[in-house]
Symmetry: C2
Subunit: 792 residues, 2 copies
């Protein structure tokens, strides 16, 4: 369906308009920058102009003398509060404000609190920092060189820039498969450093009440409870005296999971001045210093038989994490999410090793949609399959169909130990090929090639692993991934659902109300969803990695079922029959065999709050809580077909068609699912064709505005053609799998495969993202561009 239709509110699952849109469309959302408190002050961050330098001295006296400045905070101030260093979510530490050295361009050096934002900015220029420049490490491939400067000399005993090595799969078995394989195709490829670039930048309003000792922080976070606990553990603030409010959030995509120095500075600013302090970064700060993603230098090899049976994968990765090791990488589960690099195929063996290094760039390793490196892994394997098809002269769709996992193999344990829950991959691929009319496309391509026109058809298949937990396998700084939900049904049968997850625009207020509506027969319009406020919601680790529906969605269904069972007891007291004799139909318990004798959930709710006498030991009201610990991840998947036209003379790529068949299990609100897919596909087009955070040799960041770092618009996107298959997750209460990131994961390979396919007449077997006009033109010329470094 298209968005212009106006569906009626269903009693549960189904298309309905987003409840939150009423305020968003009218400009009545409340973002962090909309929060204004009496007496509020404004903060601004002084950032390093150097990628690598020693700080000789910081003179703040002139800034402090500014008539509107209330405080100037440096690392020294913070050290006095024991807040100089903060943990990253990967067990690293990061200076809140640099003291000894700056380690990336844009690093935070000082924080000014003033009466208005303009004065705060003006005063930054009055701070005199004496830097002694140091040689920077910008190219990850130079990070482990003998003579490379040691970036993290703040860490005790650190003598190089090595962070970690990890591997996944059976190296010996993989080598054996490769040794005996008929065909081996290898390819180096880069997944460039990109940025989530949410519509809203990061910010915080911190308000420390000196009398009650309560700290309230309105902040752009996808994980309010994790922030609260981390503030408590790290800063020694009492956890019950911290309230994190994450109001309306203008996009996250992983950019708003971690804690940034600016947040801490706002808090310290409020402690120091006794007033609320607002800090909101500008676009250039967001692009320069908040978490990046990708930056993977990958070498992949694929082994196969001559007739195209894929046997094995062998991968080496050099991962550039910047100056501090950021969000959640690698995680415990089997050995980081890159471990799903075996993709959607039936392999004999696979092995992968990843080495992480520090460089003088902003902290990386962020979980930018998607899911902790799955995007890179899917891109790698889907490019490798196309490279193999190139080498074998096979059709890439046919090659995939031949090697996809078969339905009867599920639940499937991958060669790297992942338990895929359910899937019917060939059906999804066939659906995509049918929707695209693949044979007709190939025929059209053949005709065009005869005319010297470059048309490309890219196929990609992906499997995601989303919905982190389970708690025993995953954590953030030791906090387990189980999510809370609370459901209260008011006397009149209206309800409020409180969730630990936090929306950044995904439509949670609608989807989760529909989940509860489906279980209880209460209209989603009568159910409010509350999230994003630690004072109002149960504990949980937030929204990222498409985990809201797999985890919080499951919690919502489970807690609604608990309420339904409580309602059954109340109904049995109302009807004076045994609870065992009651049957449920949507919204109503009735006496088995006498459908007239029943009570609606609304009638039951009123009775549960009334003077009705309940059996001994049965509590009144209709409230319930649940903590959901997922038994496994969920595994959405999909098949994408992209059609491009390439102008080989200018390098211009036009994405003419994009067919996406997604399987995210049961769809609660198909309209919202499709919206999520639309966004992710656009994201993929952007990464494939236009985005890279490039640096010059001094570490100067070359993507500080949307003039340099490009976002796709409707002009660059086709009218998406969507299809679906539905393979419910067997372990999820309602069979849903999560859709938030699927399209971002699957689409870049489809676009790149299409462009490379278009360039086949030029003998192009691979070209690195982003496929800008210059890159495409150069590839066609046989002289591929280095896209990540602007080194002449």
């Amino acid at each position: 369906m298209t968005a212009v239709e106006q569906p009626e509110t269903p009693l549960g699952h189904g298309n309905m308009r987003r409840k939150e849109d009423a305020r968003f469309i009218r400009g009545r959302g409340t973002y962090v920058d909309d929060v204004t408190l009496p007496g509020m002050l404004h903060g601004a961050v002084l950032r390093s102009p150097y990628a690598h330098a020693r700080i000789v001295s910081i003179d703040t006296s002139a800034a402090q003398a500014h008539p509107k400045v209330r405080a100037v905070i440096t690392g020294e101030t913070l050290a006095g509060l024991n807040l100089a260093w903060m943990p990253t979510l990967s067990h690293d530490v990061q200076a809140v404000l640099a003291t000894d050295k700056v380690r990336f361009q844009g690093q935070e050096v000082a924080f000014v609190v003033a009466e208005d934002r303009y004065s705060a900015r003006d005063a930054l220029e009055l701070i005199d920092v004496d830097y002694e420049a140091l040689p920077p490490v910008i190219d990850a491939r130079q990070a482990l060189a003998e003579d490379a400067p040691v970036i993290r000399d703040d860490l005790e005993g650190r003598t190089d820039n090595h962070i970690f090595d990890w591997e996944s799969g059976d190296a010996a078995a993989t080598d054996d498969v490769f040794a005996s394989a008929e065909v081996v195709a290898a390819q180096d490829m880069l997944y460039p450093r990109v940025h989530p670039a949410p519509l809203e930048t990061c910010g915080a309003v911190a308000d420390m009440d000196a009398v009650t000792g309560k700290l309230t922080v309105w902040t752009t976070t996808q994980a309010p409870h994790a922030h609260r606990t981390i503030y408590a553990l790290v800063a020694g603030l009492p956890e019950h005296k911290i309230r994190i409010i994450s109001p309306d959030i203008g996009g996250g995509f992983g950019n708003k999971v971690g804690i940034y120095p600016g947040y801490v500075c706002a808090v310290v600013g409020s402690i120091v001045t006794g007033k609320p302090v607002k800090w909101v970064e500008d676009r250039s700060e967001n692009l320069m210093s908040t978490s990046f993603a990708r930056d993977y230098h990958m070498h992949g090899e694929i082994a196969a038989t001559k007739d195209g049976r894929i046997l094995g994968l062998r991968v080496n990765v050099l991962a550039d994490h910047g100056a501090f090791n950021g969000t959640a990488q690698p995680t415990k589960f089997p050995a980081g999410f890159f471990g799903v690099f075996t993709g959607s195929y039936d392999l004999e063996a696979a092995h992968c090793s990843v080495t992480g290094v520090y460089t003088n760039k902003a902290p990386g390793g962020v979980a930018y949609a998607c899911s902790f490196r799955i995007t890179e892994a899917v891109y790698l394997v889907e490019r490798l399959v196309d490279v193999l098809a190139f080498d074998l002269g096979m059709d890439p769709a046919e090659l995939r169909m031949k090697n996809l996992l078969r339905p009867e193999q599920f639940p499937y344990r991958s060669k790297t130990g992942w338990e895929y829950d359910s899937g019917d991959y060939p059906t999804a691929l066939r659906a995509a090929l049918d929707l695209a009319d693949y044979p007709a496309l190939r025929a059209e391509q053949a005709l065009k090639r005869e005319r010297g026109e470059q048309m490309g058809i890219g196929v990609a298949f992906f499997t995601e692993a989303v919905g982190a937990g389970p708690r025993k396998h995953m954590d953030i700084l030791g906090l387990g991934m189980a999510d809370g939900a609370e459901l209260r049904v008011h006397p009149t049968g209206k309800a409020v659902l409180r969730l630990s997850c936090q929306t950044q625009g995904q439509g949670h207020e609608t989807t989760f109300a529909q989940i509860v509506g489906e279980e209880l027969g209460i209209s989603p319009d009568d159910i409010d969803v509350v999230h994003g406020d630690t004072d109002q919601t149960p504990f949980g680790l937030g929204t990222y990695g498409s985990r809201s529906t797999p985890v919080s969605g499951a919690a919502a269904a489970v807690v609604a079922r608990k309420v339904r069972e409580r309602a059954r007891i109340v109904a049995s007291a109302m009807l004076e029959v045994s609870a065992d004799d009651l049957e449920w139909e949507k919204g109503r318990w009735f006496v088995r065999g006498d459908v007239e004798a029943g009570r609606t959930i609304q009638e039951i709710a009123l009775a549960a709050h009334s003077d009705l006498e309940l059996p001994e030991g049965v509590e009144g009201h209709l409230d319930a809580t649940c903590v959901y610990n997922p038994p496994n991840l969920t595994y959405p998947f999909g098949a994408y077909v992209c059609v491009v036209d390439v102008d080989a003379d200018t390098g211009q790529v036009t994405v003419r068609r994009f067919v996406a068949v997604d399987d995210c299990g049961v769809r609660i609100n198909p309209m919202i699912v499709e919206g999520q897919v639309h966004g992710g596909l656009a994201d993929g087009v952007g990464m494939a064709l236009m985005q890279v955070m490039a640096f010059d040799e001094d570490g100067n960041h070359l993507g500080g505005s949307f003039m340099d770092y490009l976002l796709p618009t409707s002009m660059e996107c086709p009218s998406w053609e969507l299809g679906e298959t539905v393979t419910p997750s067997p372990h999820h209460p309602i069979g849903a799998k999560g859709i938030g990131e699927s399209a971002t994961v699957g689409s870049p390979a489809a676009v790149v495969n299409a462009v490379v396919d278009a360039l086949r007449p030029f003998g192009v077997r691979h070209a690195d993202m982003p496929l800008t006009p210059a890159a495409v033109w150069s590839a066609a010329q046989g002289t591929p561009l280095r896209t990540d470094l602007a080194i002449t």
Copy 2:
């Protein structure tokens, strides 16, 4: 202990300073009038100058033309919104703004919304109401006269001013006892109309968000959830779109249970203008139009043997409820709380009948501390016992001791069907007499009488019935009296307790934290108590009738025990032993027989939120909820001795000493209990000596300021001498009974008994409250004053 000592925070029960005082003492509380919202408008109420009049017309045009007026609301406006009439908590209805008639002086007639409070007040004078005066009914004893005007002709079929008759006890058995009794003493007495007069008047800030449809009301209420549900049921507003916030409240005493027209007007004002609207009444409005209490004309008879064995009680009451039948009277439980008029004595039979009538006064029947008419009942029986002692020439303390219920009679079922839970009355009376040194007082009195000085000694004993539910016996508009509690223990072991009750200064934030601290071994400093916000707390019917500790306190203990049991499962997983092998000591589960092998609640809390693997089916975290439905009321009791000096020439009474021995079961924070008793005793002194809401014959209210309606100050109060006995309630989880109102209930009789005792040389057997100098002087002259009516 005295308040100047500074106790350390105990781990549970015990003396500690109130956590809330940090903000109260520094003027950092947030009362309704402190709430200021952007664009907020201000409302003012136009009130009737007549006690009874027909409204011929209302012309608002001049007011509407005022440049700063945004809206003028009349009953007509409300009728359009279906909000013209609102329910009272006694199943009556009250006009929000009068349309046909005004029925008491001060009744709400119109509401002006303006840009500031001053303009709103100014514009009131521009409203032209044409009244046609009607004869008012002011004296309840005239209300049922043939020719009395029918006040509530708005009620269909109403032809007189009769509201209800109810009775309690066995009339025939009582008549038999009286017929054969050796002695019968009878006395008419008045419990005058008084006003709770809280420090903060009533008010509301209403904010209807036109986009989200959410109505937020900051309001002075003791029962936020009841308000929310009533708004939902009556106004048809969706309950999940209503948020009632009751912030810091400056005293309630029953005055802030019901819904007042001003609240509804503020809501309508916000709906009509699209802006937040604040309405805060001034002192004179509060005294004139918000709920009164008492106004009972009582005739009591007591039957006894010559040697002072009390056999029976027979009582008739005429209850003046004003123009609308207000808060919760009579209630279902056995037949209204006046039913405890049998007091603390072992009777053979008792009977009481009460007739309620309408008069042209402000709505009465409020539950002003205490408990729905128990204050009147205790006053009546304790005066009757003294009258009997007078007639028999017996010492009133001895007469009481002879007739008090004995410990072995508990649990005791009274002749009117009340199940007293526990008590040791003689011990309490003896403790009070000992503390007062009663024989020495009587000796002193004898000496003084010889010198012609009037010294009086008053003794009173009381039994209260508090802690409403149980749900099957009690309700407010059909809502049952079960209270919710939610407890979350954060990862670091700090906790938040969410309660449905609402404090008005009783120290809930401290006491309830101590209850949880006692059960879990978490410091009360580490536990935040949240209440007074329907969005943040579970459902329950609020705080009144000393029910917070009996009901919500029980809920707090039960929910903490649930958490302790959850912690046991987690500890068993941590320690890898069976949960059955664990033992609890304060704050810690340890392995039986190996006290070293244990985990503190804080360690358990962190593990419960970590990646610890829990047994199948066990949910993580350490949260729990509870809905507590009390199996019975609790029955605090106490013995009071009051010593007064009376100047018979001027009528001046000086309360020289006041000894109060209270038994409220287990004391959670003795310092807070003593503070509650101090306040209640002062309250009793005020009612006994100085307070009455009087009216002239036209229904003009004569107590519109604190110049007319007097409150006792420290100048009128002695240094209270407190004692205690502790008889735990057997059915309450921690044995607590509630203390909020005890002293208000017990002290008026003690003071009046003392004054009458002082006047014994003048032959005075009874004198009605308030015992003002004029009343005392007149009584001594043998010409008792009528105190309730200023009718010449």
